[in-house]
């Protein structure tokens, strides 16, 4: 599988990564190499094999519905890049 510059740009946008135009060819080459390498999985016969998402096949544990967290806004927002009146700020979003 070989990726071209436009595909690299698309993926980078989907992942919200600014990539310098000069670096695109290098990314295209490296990503293509990695995808070529994992391509060998395509030839493995896996019919009837269930996918394995977790090494231990356990089921989800459930938590009691009891409040166990207190307000730590001040601590959390002391490391935030931009806040005002307890709110996080981002550039204007238009819906």
């Amino acid at each position: 599988m070989s990726l071209g510059p436009s595909q690299v740009r698309e993926i980078a946008h989907l992942a919200r990564l600014a990539v310098d135009g000069n670096d695109i060819p290098a990314y295209a080459e490296n990503l293509s190499r990695i995808l070529d390498f994992v391509e060998q999985l395509g030839s493995v016969a896996t019919e009837g094999t269930a996918p394995l998402a977790h090494p231990l096949e356990m089921s989800q544990r459930l938590r009691a519905d009891a409040v166990g967290e207190e307000d730590q806004r001040e601590l959390f927002q002391s490391i935030a890049p931009a806040t005002q009146d307890g709110l996080y700020l981002v550039p204007k979003v238009i819906e």
Binding site: I11, D20, L41, V44, A53, H54, L56
Partner: protein, 484 residues
């Protein structure tokens, strides 16, 4: 003091030969004097360390305290430490002061261990050489031009150079075992679910597992006993009693069956490494173990499976770094997309971006089945190979890495070559098994690691075999020149 193991240091503290304050000061002094050659630490937390040492001394003074009370340790900078920078080796979190402790940090604190600092690592644990760190590469104490391995390279180098008696690490595809091997120390990757992942910054959630790194297997036993346990905050953590690991390490090896997977001794393995591993197998055989050749037929698929699953999970796990609530934020974003793209473009290094893109691609519409689902199916086949093998043998042995430490810069140009340095460690993470790496000799002056793989939750067995091996050998006791 710096040459002593945890077990020896604990005896010294107990007898009053030295205090934790003295011991901690000595560690801090060695870090100050020697770390400029290694770059093993991102943060040294002197003030907190001395306070913790003081507290440990008071506990000791009342006759209480356990094996780790007053023992200095370092944490890989992937574990959140309340009030102390937790960078994960990334510019993205260079300003991140964690508001909470990771479970592992909590547990070791509760056991009385004294954190002296946070160790360098590949950025977000993505790397096998420690060269992807935003804070610069770590140098191997055995050869300054060589890599220490990765991603827990700082922890491995710090322990090997006797800056600290022990450190924590995390292992997603070999990140404890491979640097332990390349730096000549001992490292344990526990069974998936044995150690809580709470507060351990995620790389690939279904593969990540924290574990200890130290000079001897006996020390690992003390450390894992404190680190393991049930934590309700991690849904994937197993509720199961924690054995007294150190109590069983002396058991005889008679009746033990050791499997040697033929796939781990084929092409790609450096002959010098192969010879040392065979010699190590001989030691275990002389201790009474039966040796048996086995096959793990899907071994060669482990690296490609890993490089689908790990990037896929990582691409999603790393989406939270968006410059909104914490961490790096680009300057003067024009709009929301600009905020996201430049924050992430500037905050992440090249390898992290590469893996995020691979993961994004394999999960995207039209490719999911061919890559991700397929990789999960093969993952089951790889795990089932191990399950079958453990019907015949108790422990699997082989090399940890195909070569001894390579040079800085040697593999940075080709990501796939770099990925193949984890060829013997990755399958263990896919299967969720425990594995140990211990020193087994030197190839051209650089350490070589022996890997022992156990069945699910068979850490006790691995530690037992590793400890008996270390009773017969002294590879683990060798000290790199310049760090005596």
């Amino acid at each position: 003091m710096h040459k002593k193991t945890i077990a020896q240091l604990a005896a010294g503290l107990r007898s009053g030969e030295f205090s934790s304050i003295e011991l901690t000061r000595a560690c801090l002094e060695r870090i100050r004097r020697l770390d400029s050659k290694l770059n093993a630490f991102i943060t040294v937390s002197e003030e907190q360390a001395l306070a913790a040492a003081q507290a440990a001394d008071s506990i000791r003074a009342t006759g209480r305290g356990g094996a780790l009370t007053g023992i200095p340790i370092a944490h890989k900078d992937i574990f959140c430490t309340r009030g102390v920078k937790t960078s994960c080796g990334s510019r993205m979190l260079d300003n991140f002061i964690a508001p909470y402790d990771a479970y592992v940090v909590e547990r070791l604190k509760a056991a009385g261990a004294v954190m002296v600092g946070k160790t360098n690592m590949d950025e977000f644990a993505m790397g096998s050489s420690n060269e992807t760190s935003f804070f610069g590469p770590v140098h191997n104490p055995w050869a300054g031009t060589a890599v220490p391995g990765g991603s827990s390279g700082g922890s491995a180098a710090a322990v090997a150079a006797r800056l600290v008696p022990a450190a924590t690490g995390t292992d997603t595809g070999g990140s404890i075992r491979q640097p332990a091997a390349l730096c000549g120390i001992s490292g344990l990757k526990p069974t998936y679910g044995r150690v809580s992942r709470y507060g351990m910054i995620a790389f690939a959630s279904s593969l990540d597992q924290g574990g200890p790194m130290a000079r001897t297997v006996e020390d690992l036993a003390w450390l894992i006993e404190a680190m393991a346990g049930f934590d309700p905050r991690d849904s994937t953590c197993v509720e199961r009693p924690v054995p007294r690991y150190a109590a069983g390490i002396d058991a005889p090896l008679t009746g033990l069956t050791v499997g040697l997977p033929k796939e781990y001794f084929g092409a790609g393995l450096s002959p010098a490494v192969g010879d040392l591993i065979q010699a190590a197998v001989g030691v275990v055989q002389r201790l009474g173990a039966q040796i048996k050749e086995i096959s793990l037929p899907n071994s060669q698929l482990a690296v490609p499976v890993y490089y689908v699953i790990a990037p896929a999970e990582a691409s999603s796990n790393l989406s939270r770094y968006d410059g909104v609530r914490y961490g790096y934020r680009c300057s003067e974003p024009r709009d929301l997309d600009d905020l996201y793209e430049r924050t992430r473009g500037e905050g992440f290094g090249a390898e992290v971006k590469r893996r995020i893109m691979v993961g994004t691609y394999v999960l995207s519409a039209g490719y999911y089945d061919a890559y991700y689902l397929k990789a999960q199916q093969v993952r089951r086949m790889i795990r089932d190979d191990f399950i079958r093998a453990f019907e015949e043998v108790d422990v699997i042995m082989g090399p940890t890495a195909p070569t001894a430490a390579f040079d800085l810069g040697e593999k940075t140009s080709d990501p796939v070559q770099m990925y193949l340095s984890d060829i013997y460690t990755i399958a263990v993470n896919l299967a969720g098994l425990p594995a140990l790496s211990i020193p087994a000799g030197f190839a051209e002056g650089r350490p070589v690691g022996l890997q022992l793989i156990g069945d699910f939750f068979a850490e006790e067995r691995l530690l037992n075999v590793g400890h008996r091996y270390q009773q017969e050998t002294d590879w683990h006791a060798r000290i790199p020149r310049g760090y005596e």
